[in-house]
Every structure is written in C-alpha cells, then in structure tokens.
Subunit: 574 residues, 2 copies
C-alpha cells in the first residue's frame, strides 16, 4: 500500500458505501441486442475492476482535512449510489448533469455515476465567471448540479437543484447524504436495477470551449468514442494494475484526457489533489508510488524546478501535451528520472484528449539531446484506436469540401484534420458550427502544422489566436470582445506574450477613441490599469491581459485584417 | 536487432514487396459514415504499425532453408499485394478464402490480407484428413485456397484455385508470384484503391470445429469482435513495441488466439517456426529476445523439460490455456524465469481465443507454491473488453431459456455462459445449432465449472467428451463414428486417458459383433492393432486411439446412454 497507512486505516467510508455481501456486477440484460454485441461504454470498466480487484485502492484523496480512500468495491458501490440518486432526482437517459469541482472524488465519481444513470456529464471549468457558468448551464440544459463547496458561489441562485460536496466523505456531507439516499432508493436492486445504455453512440461528455468565437461551444462526445479513447490512453501510457496515476490535469478539462476511465480500464490507482501544488506532487512522487501523470509544459516546468524535487526511486512517466516540451525541459525531466511522452489532442474534448503521440524510434537514443528534443517536439502519429490524421490545405472558400494533403516536406503548412472513433459527435445544439467543423468528412482541428517526410506531424502554430495562460486556453477573440466594451477603446487586439511563470499571458494593443485620447496623453500606463480593472470584472483571471500598450495604429492586411503575426514578432522582442 | 544479423542482411524481399517511396496508409474513404465512426477492423492495425514503425522487424521466419524477415513497411506492402491478388482472382466482399499452413508468413499475411480484401479467412487445421478438409472447403464455400507445399496433398484435385507457397519468399515461389501479380494488378493505387469494410459486424474468421457432434461446425466471428479481442489479448499479455512474440500455438487454431492482430496492435515483432521444436524454441528464448508465447500445458511441459533449456536473461511470459497448469508446471516455469499467465477460452473461435484470465492478487505472492497453484489453476474472470461470464444451471428441457446462476460456493457445478463483444457471430449456415448455442441470450460454452466466492470461475470438466491429445481437440464422438465403421465392431465408446507425452490420448472400449467375436478369441490385442489401422486411415493422428480394450458390455444409464464417467474412473486406475 503506497499511502500513509495511518490515514487509510483511520478512514471509514459511509455505511451506504459498503457493498452488500453478495454483490453482483451484472447489469440488467438488454432485450433485442445480439449475443455478440455489447454497446461500448467506459462505465463498464468499473464493474470489471471491482469484480477482479475489489480490495485494491482505486481512488485516494489524501491531502484534505478528511482524507478518503476508496477500494474498487467501495468506489463501485458509491458510483451505483450516485446513479440511483440521479435517477431519484429525476434524471432521464440523455439528460445533462453538471459538475463543478477540483480534482477530488466527486468529479471522479461523476465520470462513472452519470454514465451509469445513462446521462451526459457536463464538467465545467472552475475558473470561469458566474455568468459564463450560467451560460453553460443554460445552453447544456443541465438538470442538476454537483458542486464542490469551494465553487458553490459560481452557481448561487441557480434555478436547478444543486448538490454541494464538502469533500469530506463523512455521512453529514450533503453529497454523502445524496449518495446515501441513492442507496436507499435502489432498494438493493444493485447493478441489476440499472439499465445498460443500448446506444453506444449516445452522449457521454459535454464540455464547453472557452468561447473562441464569442460564446462557448458545447463539445459532445459518445460512449463508444470514450471507451476506445480511454483504452488508447491506457495503452499508450502503459498504465497497468501496478500503476498509480496522479491527477494534475483538471478532470474538468476534456474529461481529464480520458484518464478517469483509462486508469480504471487498467485497474490502476488514482490519486487526486485539489490543486497544482508542487510540494504535494513531489511528496507523492517520492512516497506514494506515483508512476504516471499528465501535464502541459508549464506544469512540467513547475515540477522540475520545485524545491521539493528529490531523486526518484521508481520510474515516472510524464504525459506532456498542450505545447511541445523544449530540449531544456526534456533534459530536466530525464535528470529527475521522469520519462516524457509527448502527445497531442484538441484543447477541448473534440478528440477525447490526446489522439496522436510522438513515437520515439530506437535510434533516437543515440542522438545528442538537442537533436532528440527536436524530434520529440513533433506531435507525432495517430493512437492505436484513432483512424487517421492528415494535414491539408485550408479551404479555398466556404463551400470547398476538397481535402488535399500538403506535401510531406516538413515545410508546407496546412490544417490538421482527423476522423474516426476518437472524434466528437457534434457541437451540441449547433448544427451549423458542426457542419463547418466537419468539412469534407473530417474534423478540422484549427491547428496548423506541417507533415514531415516520415509521416510525423508538427504543429507550427496553435489555432492562431489561442493564448495558453497557466495551462488554460484563453481566446484572444473573447478577451478582445470584453476589452472592446470599454467606452474609450476604439480597437483592440490581443496576442500571446511569453511569461516566465504562466507560459504565456495575453498582451493587448489598444487604439483609443479620438474623443478620449487626449484625456490619457502621457498617462497610457494609467489607462492600462483602468482597462485591466475593466477586464478583471468580465474575464477569468487567466484571460486578463498582463500588459497593455496604447498604439496609434495596428498592422493590417490589405483587406483590413489585423496582422497578429506582426504583433507576435514585436512581442517576441520585448 | 535480436536475430542473427547475417540472415537479415542476406535476405532481400521480392521487388514487389518494397513499398513505393511516397506510400500513403490511407484507405479509400467511406461515403455516408459519420465523421466520428470508423468500423472496427483488426486489419487497420497494420496500417498504423507500418506508419509508425516502418523499419521495425514485424515478422521473422528464420528457421527455414530461405529465412525471411519483413519490416512493417514491407509486410504491409505484401498484405496489400495479397488483397489485390485475391480481388484479381475474383474474391468479392464476404467470400471465404481458405488457408492451410503451419506458422509461417503465409498464414500471418492471410490474417490481414484476406480482411483487407473484405473477405473471410477460413484457416484449416493442417492435421485433418483430406476428406475432412474437403468437407470444410465445401461447407465454407471457399473460393480459393492458399496452401503451404507441405500440406498441398490435402487439397489435391481441388475444384477451386489453389495457390501453393514454398515458404521461400523468393520471386519464383508460386505464392510470391501471386503476390507480385497483385502488386501489378493494383496499378499502384495502393491502399486508396482498397475499400474499407463498412460493416464492423461483417465476418472475419471462419474456423471449423473438430466435429464433436459428427460434422465439423463453422464458427464465424466478426471484425468488431476480432478488433476488441485482439486489444484485450495485447493488454492482458502486456505486449508492447519492445515485445517479441514467438509462435507456438498454431495460427490456424482460433486465429492464433487473436495474437496475429494483438502483436501488430502492440507494434511487436512476431517470430514464426513451422513446428513445435523445443530446441528451436529455446534457441529463440535465449538469443532472439522472445518475451511472449502461448501454449497448452502439454507444450509447456515439453518446454521446461527440454534439454536445450538454459537460464533466461530477459523475462518471458507464457500464456497458458487449454487446461490448468499444475503446481509442478508453475514451479518449473518460474524456475526457468518464465511467468505463467493462465487464461481460458473456447477451443475454437467462439470466444476469439482467451476471454478470461486468472488474475493473481498481490497477497498470492506470499503463499506457499501448492496453495498459489491451486488459486492459479482457476480460469478466472473476464478480460477487459469482454462483457460477462456466468456459471448457470443446465437447462431443464430443450426450451428452457431461463439462466439461473449457481451459488458462488466453489462447489455447485454449472455451465459457463458468456455474451458480449468477444462472442462469435454464429455457426455458419447452421441457424439451428446457433439458436441452441445462444440459449437465453448467452453463448453456452459446454464447459462445466463452479463459481468461487471471490467471483472466480473454475472448470470442473471439459465439455464432457473432448479429448485433448497433443494440444489438439479430438472429439470422442467423431472417433467412435470412424471406429464403428469397422465391420466387426458392434459398439464402441471412447474416453480420454492420461498420457505422459500427449497429455491425453483416446482409449476405446469395443464390443465385438457376435458373428466375429469367436474369430478374435484370445487375440484381442491383434484385433486392437487391426482397429488402430482402420482408424489411422480415417482419423488425424492425434485422434487415433492409443489403447483399445475389447469388452463384453459397457456401463449404461437406464435409458441406454453409455456412462462415460464410469469408464473414466476405470481408466484413471490403469
């Protein structure tokens, strides 16, 4: 047992979390489905893990006032309780259940319990503003909200039922009461009282974008896709029953890149910490048998530079995505005994988290670091259960459905497109955007890349206007919209500027309205502060501009489009 | 490179096996399939492996006059050539392609090339008689036969086209000519000229039983099932890109337990040897980096007792199925550095090879060998992609569709049933037998077992009349039929008798016809020899009775059914 035994033995799950003595992991049979078909569903992984490793620690949440440790059999019972509690609360197949929580048992439970109730999980970014949350709740049509106490203010005054978790695992916790009532409601029918979802293409996860084109879009995935993507992630990460996965990437981000399911598919142990705390991370690296974690380079930089870092006795795999790891970072990770695995996926859940991997070739081992890092910085090739990924020329016009691959020359930039089982179902309630995203029978990623002669793709530009700030994706367009609402602003544009701590932060270039320009003459710095205040009221922290520059004009194309590339060059020199 | 480099560098694949310089691994697009669906098909694994690891040795066949070594890119090209050659020969989607070959590139190619042509692979047991082969060819409606020269006599005079392989990989080999013509026929359209099979529930493999109830039955599996079962086998075996899988189980047996695909899914290397030769096996264990192999206990016994055995420097996993490994065998394997993994599946391809595994629990490590072996002898619990397995009371009558689980007491014997994605589609052209096998919406295995309190199943009796002789399944009923055709035999029954070398061998009990009895008085031994000669003409070697006893009467039930259980008790005392 890798964790502090004192805490584990001190912990007692609620009475209703204990499965009955003769628990059966068999669900209600489906009528009319052939003997040789079972609809794919990642929820099924928990039934098998509980059957095979009932006594194994499935979920550990050690670093809170009331630590909790759930074995697979107990966790499965809690998931069953959650499913019944949701059904008791009126949740019907296909309904959306919202969850707002940091990495903790609540959101881990939800990844299984919501699916067990045949509902769709809408996991909401905890860093959004109340109005953004309200929009998502309204657009998703969520019927109930499960929220961690820390984020309860985000849904204050909600018109739909709210279940608050104090993250305590204690019987008096409202979330625990909810689960316990679910157990009572089940009347001990157990798994046999829950229906299998007959349609493997039914919705699984509905995650919202940060709203790159204004309003957030809801990305809807399927059960089949989630099942196959989770298996791919377990296989690519080589996660198995001896693995311990440490949660650093938020589970609300693209369903935690499918790792809530991948870990259970592999019968591994999951360890949740509520926030990215490098001292805690190293405590677990050194003392809890952690073997795997995921994180963007920003987080990886924080990890390797932490004063808590120490020599690792067991190998740890770092799944890196969000941006390419630099040679310096690769070297730092390897020096610490951490093996980086570079993967790529869409920012939201359009590709269920990662779907390509930079597969290292045997001969790379003998290359000097700089050269190896150059190869490792590439986004790679498709996962085992993905179909294919191409880099094609952008459309000539709005109706252009023809997909022409760019030459495999490592130079010609095109757009990354993909199709197959690891592609989302649709943008929820937005057929027009879905249609546009599915040009030519492929999903258009919006990411620009080249294809190397060895069939490996490399991103040249993130979707052009995204700013990766502290691991969060800030849309420059969305920031511009908010800043432009200041009455003195005539025109504003925002680009990413490198930042030591956050990786990138937004920098805004502003042209003042003529009528207000004189007012700020010689006081551009003061105006910047004023505009920052304006932004902070409207934007999540990570999207607030760190720097603001007042300018006379902005570089533009002949058709009047702002040349962000020019601004980025300017910013690079700052 | 784990193999003898001399052989590899001496080997040159045929010109037509070399892919074109700008090979694309993209198949013809499917119209009308949603962007987020790609029909599951294990054939797809080769396209990805060739893309990601083009230069890696995919298939090595070192121990023949003309050794062959194919990298993933070359092997993929050969598979493409085979698909085109089959299409050129008139093979249409859904047609059956017969293959008769020992473990060698031919049958490995067929597991991919036949599917790439959207056809169904009928792999035929090389140990059958010509008339048995003829029956299978006729019943399957095979349109073409790919046969290894050693077994060409089995299809002599065939009415359908026969392609003979000399297993040489040389341009003048008829099989190579067939492949090369396929390449020419493709007109370099490459993968884009081959259609994706749009129906993932289309047939993949058609394997024939040994004919337990007289005539062999054709077991038809699907592409979806093959895909998911192969992934499960790769995951359960922990096969990955660093693995080398040695072929000992014949690939014609239940599609090699899905390992032709599982190995490619994992991007591993496969090593084929034409027969079970323990010296060769140890040569590869010691010098070729073998990490995995599969085999029944009979084979495992041969391996551990081989004079060629030596200390292993790298860990090797032995996937054991067909019967439970004994404590003695487990200890012998472990002493040699081989880790046994005990799995269970149906004899033919009804469950795509193994679908349960005896999952060892951490605390087993501290148990004494005898106790651990007792736990390890159990057949276990379902694979990751299987749905569920139950042990139920046998039907009360022919129309009884009710499935009632036996208590989890480790004592009550019932029948193993299963359903889900790792279950065959049907018995080919035999809806009545299919209907009977799918009682109550589950597949009835015919294997009798108990369910232990920890949810682990254990087989108590193999389907009652099967004799496992040298790893082959001999049907006592089929043997009885052939022996009964001797004019002097009145009645005959056959049961398994333990055999030091073969595990089991058939023993026949015969009642002579009255008119002939006097002729053999005092010469029962001579009659035995006569009847063995009779059998050898009609039966494969493994099914020929090793012992024959002439008796006056046979033990029978009140309804006249022979009590084989009584005979088995008698045999056990011999």
């Amino acid at each position: 047992m890798p964790f502090d035994l004192g805490s584990i033995s001190n912990f007692k799950p609620t009475l209703e979390s204990i499965p009955p003595p003769n628990v059966s992991y068999q669900q209600q049979e489906l009528a009319g489905i052939p003997v040789n078909i079972h609809p794919l569903n990642p929820f099924a992984f928990i039934l098998r893990a509980a059957l095979v490793y009932p006594e194994k620690v499935a979920l550990a949440h050690p670093d809170v006032k009331y630590p909790a440790f759930y074995t697979y059999s107990v966790w499965a019972q809690r998931i069953q309780n959650l499913a019944y509690a949701l059904i008791q609360a009126g949740i019907q197949p296909g309904d959306r259940v919202a969850v707002i929580a940091p990495n903790s048992p609540l959101i881990a439970d939800a990844h299984f319990g919501v699916l067990a109730a045949r509902a769709i999980l809408t996991a909401i970014n905890t860093r959004l503003t109340p109005s953004e949350v309200a929009y998502i709740l309204q657009h998703s049509g969520s019927k109930i909200i499960l929220v961690d106490r820390e984020y309860a203010h985000l849904v204050q005054g909600s018109q739909i039922p709210v279940i608050i978790s104090h993250d305590s695992g204690r019987p008096e916790d409202p979330y625990e009461l909810f689960l316990s009532n679910g157990r009572k409601f089940s009347a001990e029918k157990g798994w046999a009282g829950l229906e299998v979802e007959p349609d493997e293409n039914a919705g699984a996860i509905l995650c919202y974008t940060s709203g790159t084109t204004g309003r957030p879009k809801g990305v809807l995935t399927t059960l089949r896709g989630s099942y196959l993507a989770a298996i791919a992630n377990a296989v690519e990460g080589q996660i198995n029953r001896d693995s311990t996965y440490l949660w650093i990437v938020p589970m609300f981000h693209a369903a935690g890149w499918t790792y809530p399911w991948a870990s259970v598919f592999a019968c591994a142990t999951q360890l949740t910490i509520r926030s990215v705390d490098y001292a805690l991370i190293w405590k677990h690296f050194l003392h809890s048998g952690v073997t795997h974690y995921c994180g963007a380079p920003t987080v990886q930089i924080g990890i390797v530079n932490s004063p808590a870092a120490g020599p690792l006795s067991n190998p740890v795999s770092a799944i890196v995505a969000g941006a390419a790891p630099t040679a310096h970072l690769i070297s730092q990770l390897e020096q610490k005994g951490i093996t980086p695995v570079h993967v790529y996926g869409l920012t939201y859940v359009e590709t269920y988290g990662p779907f390509t991997r930079c597969y290292d070739q045997p001969f790379w081992k003998s290359l000097p670091l700089e050269q190896r890092a150059k190869l490792m910085a590439r986004q790679g090739q498709i996962f085992a259960t993905a179909q294919n990924v191409r880099v094609v020329y952008p459309p000539k016009n709005e109706n252009d459905q023809e997909l022409v691959d760019v030459p495999k020359d490592g130079q010609t930039i095109g757009e990354i497109i993909t199709r197959g089982n690891i592609v989302m179902k649709e943008y929820f309630r937005d057929p027009e955007t879905t249609r546009k995203a599915f040009r030519g029978g492929y999903f258009s990623s919006g990411d620009l890349a080249v294809m190397h002669p060895d069939g490996v793709l490399q991103i040249m530009d993130r979707s052009k206007d995204i700013i990766i700030s502290g691991g969060e994706n800030a849309s420059s367009l969305a920031i511009e919209q908010e800043l432009a609402s200041h009455p003195h602003v005539l025109e504003v544009t925002v680009v990413a500027r490198p930042h030591v701590k956050w990786g990138e932060r937004p920098m805004a270039f502003v042209i003042l309205r003529q009528e207000h320009a004189s007012q700020w003459t010689g006081k551009h710095r003061e105006f910047g502060e004023e505009l920052k205040r304006h932004g902070r009221k409207r934007l999540p922290g990570f999207a607030c501009p760190e720097w603001i520059e007042v300018v006379e004009e902005l570089p533009k194309t002949s058709t009047g489009k702002i040349l962000k590339t020019e601004l980025r060059k300017r910013v690079a020199k700052l």
